[in-house]
Every structure is written in structure tokens, then in C-alpha cells.
Symmetry: C2
Subunit: 355 residues, 2 copies
């Protein structure tokens, strides 16, 4: 697959959440149709997609039919079972590629990869068992944070070690899953770069955004971020280095800690990213269209920012604010159409144009 | 129906073309689901809508089931058969209301309505038959233009009278349909106002756009339009007068000729309008979301414009330009996902940010 996809082609999306939903709308804007593959019933993405397959990731027949219907397959989350990818890839291309998934599915692999690229990361140690944890605590110290190697998101799969007494029970919280101990980094703030790379190697980055988390979940992203000109350049160079090393096709999110010693890579996500939602109201081409352009082999958009924006997530009971936000000037609501509001569930976001 | 619709409610849309498609995406952004009713197979709107009914407008059972599924019904075109509206309205509200449809479905009714409001329109005369045509030509003169009272769009259903010799055969071209003769207006340019009114009577207008037509089809809309401050005020007042007179709920397009004697109303469209597509890239809330907000009883967006935009339609073979447009900076493509490219068919549009 080297030619750009023609309008009318079908893009498959693994995962039917809000990211798949916004990818589907962006794909439609370029004349593509979308086919969502999602085990859950009535996923948000299906409301704005052309076709839906409801099946488990081990349903080979469903995966095969899905892959045959799609000209290219992409995904909205990184924890897709390897076997499912094998079935799909035998039939149609997956973009971004397997290597990006292999690395980002495992925190230890990801940290080793970033370090080998010469990028700064927080101190870390492999924690396969209790003995290794004791050793890691000696090396890295406390406070530190124990994270499962796989399947963590939005603060899940993490235990914070604040004192020696936390160490003994820390592994219990992870139910025996292999883990990584990470040292704390003294950072002034966190930024993220939403970067894209096309199949011909062209790279385009959106302006870095400044992130605020609450309870382990992204609360807001503000552009422009507080960064010096040289920090801004560094952020883009770091993202480009990662994209090129992975021979990446699509949009990638890179979270960075800003410290006096430079930018430290927190983590990468091989997909569109919550901290890039501001691009929907600040750029001619948003992160979702940028991703679709890349996976479809279209030229990337330039990603220039023409407005200052604050993106705020609407989580759980934040939905009660919607009637008020609807009355605000210069506020764009983006709701996800989820049937049930739950504490901690991302229900939507609002982009406020501040200048 | 007086309370605002809650997210999760279903909005029915009569018509599955590009306007229905963009309405559906806007509705999803506010957390609504859409149900499209369209006689044609595989309509563009269905690609981004939650549900589709494929049935004719005289299929009472299908209309009934559709209406029962919808909390409110709106439409993307004005020529919906009255009987279909009767079936739907017995079950669920239709917004904008029947009066707006009754008036805009018939050029003669529309012109009388506008004139009775005290607005300027081009000279016109009722032409039920050949005798009336001869009389109308004496009164209005030549050049003039003969238009069917009903079902005209994009230059269809029109015969231009350039000389006396055109008169004899003019009615043949309309196949006996009741018609209106319109005099030509000497205008410098055409503008349109995309205006909205909510159920509580609040009115919001987007900045007027300047339209260029080619072969009877809209070619481009440019904002800002060339208008003096007082012309701009007049345009908005005219639109508001029409909205209030119709007790209108939703977005309405008003086409105006700019003349030394003031603004003359060309025609009105009780729906989102091609000349309002620029709002997708120049405003926090576009005409599609504005329409959905109005019909859902939500507060209207303020419609402020934060960019200069030129919207250009992509018609028929213009689709060949898409690969080039995709490489342009500050150009947003909006393609409609139509299976077949035909001469004169609207296939998409591009919004170019010019400042």
C-alpha cells in the first residue's frame, strides 16, 4: 500500500470509544467510510460510523471479515491482543505499525527504547518480583511509583510508594503483574506534543500543549504551553526522533516533563491523544484528520495554530455543567454520546477559545 | 416540547444529502443521535448517522416508525410532501415549523410574504398560463426570468427570457408547471445571511457572506462580504424580521441582492444553506450546530467570526483538484462521500482561511 487511498475507501478502526468516534468523523470529512471493530455493545464511535462489527478480539472469523472490508486498519488504543493483529495484518495493512504497538504496550520496553534513543526518562527499574522491588527501592528511593508494565491507563495499575511501609503491600495491589518502579521527577509542569508522520517520512507537529492532571486523569490542556523557544524546539525534535525510530505512520502523543535539566519523556501513546483535542478548534486540520491523512497516505496538514485554546475534559458529574457551558461565548462542546455517566468516565470535552 | 433535549435524545432528519450529513455530525458533537429518513439508497448522511430509514415519502408505516423514534424532526430540504409532514407531526414536533415550509415551497407565496413584511423583492408576477405570461412580460419587461413556483433549485426549473422570441416557447420548458415571472435586478453583488432563532425567540446571525454563482450553482462564499456598516445592519434586520414573522425555530438562509436602492431579498431557504458552510472553519459554532441547538431547544451559539474565509464548492470534476487542495496550507476539505461524481453534482467544498 503506497498510493494514497481514494475517497470512498474504508478505514477500519479497532476500538469504538471517543477517539474512534472523532477519528470516524474526520475520516468522513475526507470522503472515507469507517468500519468500527469493538467488543462492547453500542459504542460511541458507531453513532457516526458507516459500519460496526461487535465481536471479541479472539473472534478470528469476525476479525477476518472486518479486515477484508477495510483498505487500512488503525486503532484508538494500544492494548490490542497480538493474535488479533496477526489475523488482521495477514489481510490488510495496520497503521501505525506493529513495532510502535509492541513498544508502547509495555512500560519497560518503552523506557528502554526511549533511553536507547538518547532521550531522558525518569529513573526506572524492572520489578518482576518482591526481591527486585526491594532492590529497586534501594536504587531509586522513595517516593516513587510502581506501575504495571502493561494495560495501565488514566492512573489505573499504579501504586504510589510514599514510605517504607508501603513497599510490603505494593505488589499485592498489582495482582502479581510484572511491574516497573519509576522515580519521581521534579518537574515544573507537563507538556505534550502531538506529532504525525506520513508514509513518505514527512513529519508535522502541533504546538505543544500544557497538561494538568487530576486524580491521574487529564483535566485540561492549554495552548500555548509555558515553554521557551529552545524548549519548544527540543519538544518537537524529541517527537520527531521517536517517530523516525519507529518508522511511524500516524499521530503519536508524547508526554514530557519540563525540568531545569531539560525535557524528560514521561510516556508515549501510538494514537491520537486526549491532550490533542484542542486542535479541533485551533487548527485548520485537527489531530484526528491528521491521523487519518497519515494512515491513508495523504499529505499531512501543516498543523499551524491560529487561536489560543484551553481544552477541559468533562468527566463524570462534569456533565452537569453542560447547560452552562452551552451558554458560554467561544466555547465548543464535544460530547461523546455515552449512554451512562459514571464517576471517572470521560463524557466529553470543551474547547474554549481564549484569544 | 419546551425543555431542551437531553444528550442522548434522537433527532430525525428528512433527507440524507450533504446537509443532513453535516447536521448529523453536529448533532453527535452535542451528544445526540440522528435518524435519517431518505428514499434514495446509501445516502451520504447515513455514513455518519446512527440510524437510517430507506423509504418513500408516501410510506406511512415507515414515516410513523421514524417519527416514533425521534424526539424532534428537522429537514435538509424544503420540498417535503405535505402528507408526509402530516404523518410525522401527529407524533413528534417538526422544526422549523410548517408555516416556513408552506411559504418557501412556493415562490409566489414567498414573494407575497416578503412583500407584505415590507421587504424589497424583485418585480414579479403570477404566471398560471400563456395569457398571464404575455401580461407579465408587458408589465415587467425583458430581460426577465420565468421560474416554476415549486421544486426549483440550483438553477433548475428556470427559463431566461432574453428577447420577445423566447416568450412563445418559455412555458414549454416548464412542462405546464405554474410559474412566476421575475424582473432582473441591477445588483452589484449577492450576499446571504445565515440566521438562527431559538424557541424562546432569541436570534443570532452569522456575518453575511458574499456569494458568486456559476451556471446557476453557488461557486464560492467569501467572508467578510463587501458591505457598509449600515448594509450589514440592514441585512441582519431583514433576516430577523423574517425569522420573527415565521415564529421560526432553526437556521434560515436569506439571499440578498446589494443595490444602490438597498438590499433586495432574492429568496429564503428554511434550512442550513450552502452559503453558510464557511462557518465550519470561521466560528466556534457552525451553522449546523446552530441549527441543531435551535431545534433541540438549546441556547444558540453567538456565531462570532474569528477568521476570514473563502468557501469554494467542489462540483463534479472539481474532485480532480482534491489531491492539490490536500497539500494547501490553511485549507479544510469537507467531502460528502458520494459514490459517483457527476457533472453539476456537489461533491464537497473547501474552506480556505485567508486571514
Amino acid at each position: 500500500m503506497t498510493d494514497p487511498l481514494a475517497t470512498g475507501a474504508t478505514i477500519g478502526i479497532l476500538g469504538g470509544g471517543q477517539l474512534g468516534r472523532m477519528l470516524s468523523v474526520a475520516a468522513a470529512r475526507l470522503g472515507f467510510t469507517c468500519h468500527i471493530f469493538e467488543p462492547g455493545i453500542a459504542p460511541p464511535a458507531a453513532q457516526v460510523a458507516n459500519r460496526l462489527t461487535t465481536a471479541a478480539y479472539d473472534d478470528t472469523a469476525a476479525l477476518t471479515a472486518f479486515a477484508r472490508d477495510c483498505d487500512v486498519v488503525t486503532f484508538e488504543f494500544e492494548n490490542i491482543p497480538t493474535e488479533a493483529l496477526d489475523v488482521i495484518e495477514a489481510i490488510t495493512p495496520i497503521r501505525p505499525g506493529r513495532e510502535a504497538l509492541r513498544i508502547s504496550q509495555d512500560r519497560l520496553t518503552e523506557k528502554n527504547f526511549l533511553q536507547e534513543l538518547g532521550l531522558k526518562v525518569a529513573p526506572f527499574a524492572d520489578v518482576p518480583d518482591a526481591e527486585a522491588l526491594a532492590r529497586a527501592v534501594r536504587d531509586i528511593g522513595i517516593p516513587s511509583i510502581l506501575k504495571t508494565r502493561r494495560f495501565g491507563y488514566d492512573g489505573k495499575g499504579q501504586v504510589r510508594l510514599s514510605s517504607e511501609s508501603d513497599v510490603a503491600t505494593a505488589l499485592d495491589g498489582l495482582a502479581g503483574a510484572p511491574a516497573v518502579l519509576e522515580g519521581f521527577v521534579e518537574f515544573s509542569h507537563e507538556v505534550s506534543v502531538i506529532a504525525a508522520r506520513g508514509p513518505t517520512g514527512e513529519v508535522a507537529c502541533f504546538d505543544p500543549g500544557e497538561n494538568v492532571h487530576r486524580d491521574g486523569i487529564l483535566h485540561s490542556t492549554t495552548v500555548p504551553a509555558r515553554l521557551s523557544a529552545s524548549q519548544r524546539t527540543d519538544a518537537v525534535l524529541i517527537a520527531a526522533k521517536i517517530l523516525n525510530a519507529l518508522d511511524y505512520i500516524g499521530v503519536l502523543g508524547v508526554e514530557l516533563f519540563v525540568t531545569p535539566q531539560g525535557l524528560i519523556v514521561n510516556e508515549i501513546a501510538p494514537r491520537v491523544h486526549n491532550s490533542g483535542h484542542w486542535t479541533q478548534n485551533g487548527c485548520s486540520i485537527d489531530q484526528f484528520e491528521q491521523h487519518i491523512r497519515a494512515v491513508a497516505g495523504w499529505p499531512l496538514g501543516d498543523g499551524s495554530r491560529y487561536a489560543d485554546v484551553v481544552m477541559e475534559n468533562l468527566i463524570g458529574a462534569d456533565m452537569d455543567k453542560v447547560p452552562h457551558i452551552a451558554r458560554e461565548k467561544d466555547a465548543s462542546l464535544h460530547l461523546y454520546g455515552k449512554a451512562e455517566t459514571k464517576a471517572g468516565r470521560k463524557m466529553g470535552h470543551v474547547n474554549r477559545i481564549t484569544r
